[in-house]
């Protein structure tokens, strides 16, 4: 009967049928879904509320970043890197600057290295703080933890604005150093923010870490084993939550990271709770690094005097520069043909590579788990789609 066939049965099953004879429901989560962290889409096949199949669809925010960069001067690429992971523009700048520096063999002055560490770790703080906030928001906590996180992030963004002139699109670093030196009083202001930050972390932990609902929701959900994490090329907190001891700050010791004492927390379960807790712990370590860096920062120039920013033409060659960005290993691969713009420009985005196991993490979980698993991966679509 025609009227009947287009009712519920039709709605429930789009033709697919599972082994038990029940019907599968195909829903499209995104790109306008509120918890896909941007314009990301997942074609999910559900059995009841269980995920049977998940197909990530991305590219909605593709902007031709790598191709544009091939037409830009080396300096002109810098502001474009801000827009990759728009939460952490400074670390993006850093990775790109590092790549160009190793391409041209530029030495960075001492003070600039310290400034890079300070701004980089501040970026990590604000990224992790908002990430845990977003994760709680995905879990349905009415935005309260997110608001607390944003309250703290605001203070860090104010610091960025006072230093670089912009809150998010900082465009701060240059190959050979940093663009501007910290203005008078900036260091004291930053010191105050860093000193107050553990208070926020305590508050956060009191509020949510031992919360039964949170634990029930996150523990054992979206598990990634150590082997899986290594095979998929995970990096950053995602890899460390699965027990992979891989932190570029320790491995590469780029910049001046070997001068600071800090620890790398590792998770044993590789589930959402571990990823969430690792970020909280990493924030504490970042605060430690910041304290040491602010104590030790020397006076001096912030730019390598030998580097010409405009009309920069490195010798022909190739270089890969990578750093431990808040989201994982962020790498820039540059090939120079000796001209004023890169011959090839390639980004290794941590968000995208950490996202590759999404289906494996989600299968067998509930619809409600998809959003928190996606949230725990910490993606920014600007970086995934580029």
């Amino acid at each position: 009967m025609s009227v009947l066939t287009d009712t519920t049965a039709d709605l429930l099953g789009s033709g697919a049928e599972d082994r038990s004879g029940g019907q599968l429901l195909e829903i499209s989560m995104g790109p306008q879904h509120p918890s896909t962290h941007g314009v990301f889409r997942m074609d999910v096949t559900l059995d009841g509320e269980k995920v049977v199949k998940l197909k990530p669809v991305f590219g909605y925010l593709h902007r031709n970043h790598e191709k544009i960069a091939e037409k830009e001067s080396y300096l002109g690429c810098m502001p474009y890197t801000d827009r990759l992971d728009y939460f952490c523009s400074i670390t993006n700048n850093w990775a790109y600057a590092l790549a160009v520096e190793s391409l041209a063999g530029i030495k960075v002055p001492e003070r600039a290295e310290y400034l890079r560490v300070i701004t980089g770790e501040l970026t990590r703080l604000q990224n992790h703080a908002s990430l845990v906030g977003f994760l709680m928001q995905d879990m349905g906590a009415s935005g309260t933890p997110l608001m607390y996180a944003f309250r703290e992030r605001e203070k860090i963004l104010d610091l960025f604005e006072a230093l670089t002139g912009a809150r998010m699109m900082c465009n701060y670093m240059r190959f050979g150093g940093c663009r501007v030196d910290a203005p008078a009083g900036w260091m004291q202001q930053a010191q105050k923010v860093v000193d107050a930050f553990p208070r926020f972390l305590d508050e956060f932990e009191r509020m949510l870490v031992s919360n039964e609902i949170l634990m029930a929701r996150t523990q054992g959900v979206g598990v990634v084993t150590t082997a899986q994490a290594v095979n998929a090329g995970f990096s950053g907190p995602m890899a460390r939550a699965s027990g992979v001891n891989y932190d570029l700050r320790k491995v590469d010791k780029y910049g001046i990271y070997e001068r600071f004492a800090f620890r790398v927390p590792l998770g044993d379960h590789g589930d959402v709770y571990d990823r969430y807790m690792l970020r909280v712990l990493e924030m504490r370590e970042s605060v430690e690094i910041l304290k040491q860096a602010m104590r030790d920062i020397p006076a001096g120039p912030i730019m390598d005097p030998g580097t010409k920013i405009r009309g920069f033409r490195p010798k022909a060659g190739e270089a890969y520069g990578r750093i431990e960005a808040p989201k994982g290993e962020l790498g820039f691969y540059l090939v120079s043909d000796g001209s004023g713009n890169p011959y090839r420009f390639r980004v290794r985005p941590p968000s995208l590579i950490n996202l590759t196991l999404l289906e494996d993490m989600c299968i067998g979980q509930n619809v409600a788990d998809i959003v928190i698993i996606l949230g725990s991966v910490d993606i920014v679509l600007g970086e995934v789609d580029r």
Partner: protein
Amino acid sequence: MLGEGILKGLTETARNFFGSYVDDERLTTVQYPEERLEQIEATRDFPFLVYDGEDWEKGMRCVSCQICEKECPPKCISIEKSKDKKPDATGKAQFYPAKFDIDISVCMSCQICVEVCPFDAIKMDVVYELSTEDRFGGLLLNKEQLSKSNEYYNKIHPTEAGAVDAALAAEREKARQAAAAKAAEAKPAATAVVGAAAVERDGTK
């Protein structure tokens, strides 16, 4: 016991609830049209052209060298060089931009034009209430709209402008002395040489 963590969380939110009434640290909201944040000195958003003196057309520092146009990553600057030369603020004959447009709907506020400008002619502004109903024309600023006085520049970025003024003054002094020396050396002094001295100064400061 079940519910312990939940109770802890509840006390924390209660503390924040009451704290927001007494603690300014907690309630950081700024009620925008009535209240405004204090201007942070380093803030930048869109470029403007600096002129010296009173008359914007006369005092424009830009000599239409078109470096910024070339360097601008999103290519939002469009300059047409003048055919003739006009005396600038110091009285030397210079090219000037016959047309200088910036499409601020394309501009990404990266400040690279400022960094590469050898004449300190283009600087970053701090105005942010730029919404307009005219989507295309309204955000395309021409030379006249872009021109702002050096006093204004000193007002919005005092430290930076002070340094620029001092450097410019020193340079002009040097140029004046050189010109005087040259004039003493050989009577028929060429006025056009002076501009070249400034071009040589690199953009990397």
